[in-house]
């Protein structure tokens, strides 16, 4: 089946089985391996991508559901989003498997003008498991990125 979507700002059209996981289509057909597979069962959030601006776990989404949608993967952020920089400076990544998902899941909080509380940051990232950091450095990175993004 032919599927069309916008991937990181570029229109894409590909021929594939409609029930293939969006995760596999992104990694194998589109060559974008920044999106990670942690569990493959919707528990860990490592495979998070944004579909029409909303975080979804791409391991549970058949590619047919992405038809006509705007997709953003970690590659689409280009490396200079304030959260990508603060994840470096705060050492928010250790093994890095959770990192692309964490960045995409927290992006909306960082971009919104309202300063998030720590409780709000925890809630927004509750679906993204990280085994390495204990989350503290990730929280610091999100708050620092928000401050940088909205500095007057």
């Amino acid at each position: 089946m032919r599927t069309r979507f916008t991937l990181n700002g570029e229109p894409r059209e590909l021929e594939t089985h409609p029930m293939r996981r969006l995760l596999d289509v992104l990694r194998e057909d589109c060559g974008l391996t920044g999106t990670k597979e942690g569990c493959g069962e919707g528990e860990c959030g490592a495979c998070t991508v944004l579909v029409d601006g909303e975080p979804v776990v791409s391991c549970l989404v058949p590619v047919a559901q992405a038809e006509g949608c705007e997709l953003l993967t970690i590659e689409g952020l280009g490396g200079d989003h304030p959260l990508q920089r603060s994840m470096m400076t705060e050492v928010g990544a250790q093994c890095g498997i959770c990192t692309p998902g964490v960045v995409l899941a927290a992006k909306a909080l960082v971009d919104a003008p309202r300063k998030p509380t720590l409780a709000r940051v925890r809630e927004a990232l509750a679906g993204n498991l990280c085994r390495c950091t204990g989350y503290e450095a990730i929280h610091r990175a999100v708050l620092a990125a928000h401050a940088e993004r909205h500095a007057k």
């Binding site: 942690g38 569990c39 069962e41 528990e43 860990c44 705060e90 050492v91 990544a93 250790q94 093994c95 890095g96 720590l118 940051v121 925890r122 809630e123 990232l125 509750a126 679906g127 993204n128 498991l129 085994r131 390495c132 950091t133 204990g134 989350y135 503290e136 450095a137 990730i138 929280h139």
Partner: protein, 287 residues
């Protein structure tokens, strides 16, 4: 391992570290490159690290036991200082362009007064120890027996941290894992295999289960380690579970195994007398 070796060689761009220790997210690559850069007095960017394949690097012993920084980092500090003596005031890249590749290697020797035999594997396995103290503050629901750690304090002394932000990350990450071990993580074994090896049935802490943490790194430079460092890899995971269990005991429950899940706590006997847990004691007395 007494035979552990580490090497350093010049390259057209600076130097390359030759060790067998692997980077698995703990920061080994960064930390070793910092030690070499500082030992040589060159920018960090001029230090690269070879793939840890013992067909091209010397055997530095395993990446275990919090030894990489102290032992292998220590060998690299010596390599860097020796290379600096050899090349004088030129940069390693300039030296390489003029004289060709310079390679130095160091082998580990037990510090004075330490006995160890590689034949029998007996003796003082560790040259020194790091120290830690953990404090867990918990909230226990007397009806559902759910436990939350509300605040966690980790005080650790591991010489002098090479990269304080990464060292803090090791402590925070290990503390979260230790708290998960204490309260959530239940390995179910069936026929010699883990029966719940999925994240759906093996539950690890999320952002909502992990409390705010206070990390204190007490600096106490150790003369036998690179720039005063000891190791921090494993120590911070040891204390959290005992701290959580002691807090539950302080609340009057005779907890003797982990994970202290609500189901387990429901059938945990109450302690007869505990300082500061008089309610529990009174309830016991009334029965």
């Amino acid at each position: 391992m007494l035979g552990s070796r580490a090497g350093l060689e010049t390259t057209p761009a600076g130097v390359r570290i030759l060790v067998a220790n692997t980077e698995i997210g703990q920061g080994t690559r960064t930390m070793l490159a910092q030690i070499v850069a500082d030992g040589l007095g060159i920018p960090y960017e001029q230090v690269e690290i070879a793939q840890p394949d013992t067909s091209v690097v010397p055997d530095s012993g395993p990446t275990v036991a919090s030894r990489t920084c102290m032992v292998v980092g220590g060998l690299l500090e010596k390599c860097a200082r020796r290379m600096r003596e050899r090349i004088g005031h030129t940069s390693p890249a300039e030296y390489h362009a003029r004289q060709g590749r310079l390679h130095v290697e160091e082998q580990y020797a037990a510090p004075e007064g330490r006995r160890w035999s590689d034949e029998t594997y007996r003796g003082d396995a560790y040259a020194t120890y790091a120290w830690g103290c953990d404090v867990a503050e918990v909230e226990l629901d007397p009806v559902t027996h759910e436990t939350r750690v509300t605040k966690f304090t980790a005080v650790q002394e591991f010489g002098r941290p090479i990269h304080p932000a990464m060292a803090r990350g090791q402590i925070e990450g290990a503390s979260a894992q230790g708290m998960g071990w204490a309260l959530l993580e239940h390995v179910v074994m069936r026929d010699g295999q883990m029966a719940n090896a999925q994240l759906t049935n093996y539950v690890i802490p999320t952002t909502l289960d992990t409390p705010p943490m206070d990390v204190v790194m007490l600096e106490n430079p150790y003369a036998g380690g690179p720039f005063g460092a000891k190791g921090v890899g494993e120590m911070p995971i040891d204390g959290p579970a005992p701290a959580v269990v002691n807090a539950l005991r302080h609340a009057g429950l005779d907890v003797r195994s982990i994970p202290a899940t609500p189901e387990a706590l429901l059938s945990t006997p109450r302690l007869r007398s505990v300082n500061g847990a008089s309610d529990a004691a009174q309830e016991d007395g009334a029965r």
